[in-house]
Structures are given as C-alpha cells and as structure tokens.
Point group: C2
Chain length 297, copies 2
C-alpha cells in the first residue's frame, strides 16, 4: 500500500497537505451535531461539548476510574503505564474490553452517533485508556499528532479516526489541560528519525519519537489559530480529529486531571502493516486484534 503520509524516514522534517476529508459523511447527510458544531470541527479539527454527561453519570465514571486505578496498583502489564519518576499510574489501557462498566460507556449511543457521522461509516475502537494526570507531579506531554504515531507504528493508512476525551475532573487552564493547534488537522508534519522496535513502551511515558520539529510547530500555530485550551467542568467531551496537533503542559497545581480517552477508527480504515518498515511486535498485534474483535460493525 502506498504510504501517503511518510514520517520518520528522512532526516529533514516536511509539511504535507492532508489528503483525506476532515468530515467523512456525505455533505447532505444530517447528523446529531448542529451546523455550528460541524463547522467548528471542520475548521479547527476539534469540538468541545459541555455537560455532555450528567452529574450522576460523571460520579459513576469517577468512581469507576479510581476503582480501576486501585485494582491495577500491583499489576505488571503493558496496559498499565506509570509516571516516569514514580510508580503512580498514569494510564490504564484497553478498558473498553477489560472492564464491563467501561465497555458500556464506550457503547454510549450518543457518542456513537456523533462518531458515525464524522467518520461516515461504522467504527470500531482502535484504542481506549484512562489517563490520570495527578496534581503536583503531572508531567507535560509533548506536541504530537496521534495519526502520525498510529500511521507509522500501528499501520493506520488514512486520516479517518477520531479521538474522544471525556473530562472526569474539572479542566482549568492551569492543571495541565489539553492544548490543541486549531487548523493543524490539515497538515501532516513528517517527523525525522526512525522508530526503535520497542518505542511504544517508552513513548507512552514521554513522547520522544514522532515529535514534530519546532519550526513546523511554530508554523502550524502561526498559520492556524494559535493554541486553543478547552476548559470546563467534568462531564464535558472533547472530540478531535486524528491528525490535530496537541499536547499538554505539566501540572504543579493540587488539582488532578483525569479523563477517559477513546479512539474510534472507521471500519473502512482498518490497520495494515505498519509504515515504519520495522517488524511487528507480537504483544502489540495481540492487543490490536483484541481491539478489532470489539468493532461495532
């Protein structure tokens, strides 16, 4: 298969124009979003919806994530990611499959309707995780396009996936919130370097490969809309296109920042041999196939 978005293959970064639509359903199709919301997503590559979940739903999810954090405390697994300088759990992966409660949340019809509309097809879960960004010690997450990683490391061929973050704590400007570069979904930043075989183990703690160069980031921010920081109460959702450039600063405040993070991929965009040119990793294939088997199509 032709590599439309080559990355980590050269020693010089490059900015490539997007070759896929941002919204994949037919323009005449009516979806669950308002025109204003659709236009915002098309233009900026993300969309926040406040109060998407009720207070009761939020409380239940909050209990759920801390129960899972507690029960994962002593678990040694590729699915449990810890902070670089401590043993605190930073993420628990694959919760849409391993946890009965979060399996239900993932199947929320309101979410699926939106995602079906934006991706213009049936979808399946490419990845799911709970992110715990603790107060005081939460570390920054460097700028990246999720698509770049999924393309190079997981073999996702086209830009037809969407990330959904469900805020499970109040997001302020100061507790390391998600930052996005509006308009960046329209440009693929081809990163320099090659992918070491075991990169996926390290990159979840501290992204090193697939980090765009500073000139490209500056260009994206200057040519796009600067930097956006959606803040709001727990229960808000933020949808962002797979290629929208994002990152977050650290968090020295007492306020933790937790979210449930789901990635939906179109069934028309199923994974192929990774574009890194490297060997597939056996553990990773296992996780991926597990993921595939949960598709909603």
């Amino acid at each position: 298969m032709e590599d439309l978005y080559p990355s980590r293959k050269n020693n010089k970064p490059e900015i490539i124009e997007r070759k896929d639509p941002v919204i994949h359903s037919h323009p005449t199709e009516k979806g669950p979003l308002s025109d204003e919301q659709v236009n915002f997503y098309q233009k900026n590559g993300f969309l926040q919806i406040e109060n998407f979940f009720s207070e009761e739903e939020v409380s239940k999810m909050q209990r759920g994530i801390f129960e899972l954090q507690d029960s994962s405390k002593d678990v040694e697994s590729d699915k449990v990611i810890r902070e670089p300088q401590s043993d605190e759990i930073r993420s628990v992966f694959h919760v849409h499959n391993d946890d009965e409660y979060f399996k239900k949340v993932t199947n929320d019809q309101r979410i699926l309707d939106i995602v079906h509309y934006l991706l213009g097809s049936d979808v399946y879960i490419h990845q799911s995780r709970i992110n715990y960004k603790p107060g005081f010690t939460g570390k920054e997450f460097d700028w990246h396009s999720d698509f770049e990683t999924w393309h190079v490391e997981d073999g996702m061929p086209r830009m037809r996936a969407i990330s959904l973050s469900i805020a499970l704590s109040d997001n302020y400007t100061f507790n390391g919130p998600l930052m996005l570069i509006p308009g960046s979904q329209n440009y693929f930043v081809s990163c320099v370097g090659e992918t070491p075989e075991d990169n996926y183990k390290e990159s979840l703690k501290k992204q090193k490969l697939g980090v765009p160069d500073q000139n490209s980031l500056r260009w994206l921010a200057e040519n796009g809309g600067g930097i956006s920081v959606p803040t709001g109460k727990a229960g808000a959702i933020t949808l962002f296109e797979s290629n929208t450039m994002h990152g977050s600063n650290g968090n020295i405040t007492p306020y933790s920042r937790n979210n449930l993070f789901l990635v939906f991929n179109s069934v028309e965009n199923q994974l192929v041999q990774p574009f890194s040119g490297g060997k597939e990793r056996p553990e990773f294939i296992a996780v991926r196939e597990g993921t595939r088997s949960l598709s909603f199509n």
Copy 2:
C-alpha cells in the same frame, strides 16, 4: 534576633500565621493606587496593572533583555543561570547594578511610588533579574514563598518586601505563566529539612528545598481563592507580596515568556545573619553588599 518564621528546621511542616501587615503605610496615607487596587492587594497578596509601560518602553526593554542575553552567552558567572537540560540562559541576575539601561528602569518613579506606599518606607533593591522562559523547553518552577527563601537563606527578618514582575512578552494561560494562590500571603508555610551550604546554586535551576508540602499547598488553595493566573500583554506589571505562594508550569508552546523581575525590600527590614543557622557564603555576601550599596534611601 528572634526567628519569627522558622523553616527547614523540623521534620514536620507547619502553617504559621503572618505577623506583619500586608500593607505597611499608615491607613490614612494616600498613595498612587486606587482603593480598589489597594483592597485587591491586601486581600489577594498580588496586583496586576495592565499597560503600565507604553509600547515604546516595552520595545526598548525587549531589545535590552535580548542584547543582555546575547552578551552573556559565554559568561561563566553565578549571575547567569542556565536551563537544567541545556545551555540556554534562564536568568541573568543583578541587572539593576551591572547594566546602565536596567539601572534606569529600576529607578522608574512610577514604580518606586507604588513600592514606597506598599512598604511604608524607603526601599532598596534586594534582587533583580531577567527571566527568560523559552518556548518549547521552559521548565516548571515549583511552588514557593520568596520570603521563605530570603528569610532562611538571606536573613530577611520580616515580611516587608515586594516582588515586581514586568511582562516583556504576552502572557497567555498556556505559556507557563505565573500562578499565585490568593490569600496565601497571610500564612507562612514552614518547610521541612535543612539547607545544604551550596543550595543557592541549584535552587535557581530547580527549586528543591523550601518547597512546601502538598497538604499545606492544598490547604492554602482551598482556604484562599484557589489559583490565580494573571495574563495580559507585554507591558503589564504584577506586584506580589514577598510571602505570596507562587509557581509556574512548564511551557511546551512556541511562545516564550520573558520578564524583568525586581525585588524591593524596606530599609527598615535590612538583612541579618541568615536564619538557616548555616555559614554565610562569601560570594553571596559580595552580591548582597553590592545590592545594598544601590539602595534608594
């Protein structure tokens, strides 16, 4: 001299009530600030004034700091502080004395009028520096009370000093701006541990000692006004009381954050033998005496 604010002497943190007024001039005295500004400072321990300097003045100061950064590039000196993981200059100290231009800025009559009013006496410069927080790689600065450091390490007896930050780049919520805990000026957090003799060399890069415990910080934020993040255009000034708890997150955005930072101390509050119980450091005495000789009294 009695140590009214003991810190780094015990193994248990403690919160001590402030024993000094926040505003030191006589209540009937009229100063250059409005009643609203005075009340804000009294209540919150800080005050921001937008557009304090004109665009022309800002441009001149901006040129000044980059000229100084450039001319300090190869300087090996205790006054030039670099980033922990690179050689980029993070701060240049003592600019009110070493640089003719910044000597003039420091003597700005509008600033001196405000500081005289808040400290209720003549003042002198305790410390001056330019802070460069570069884009992409600017690191966080842990929570601290400046007074705690100056008291323990420099021998500042009472809370009768004020910090002034002149914004020389636009401050957004996302480029690692100053965060303050409103109301924290009224409580002294006695920190644990002892001061190693050469702490001042390391602490300017990455504060380790004099960092309050997490419970005290949480208490301050909950009992005060949470966390405030004054943002605004270059040319704004932020005044904050010596004991107001503050810190800043890192900065992965392309936008640098630079400021000129001046600390004014009351001539009634001159330094004594440091309260750490340790030995004085010869280099430090030299800097301090240089500083004293520039007093405005």
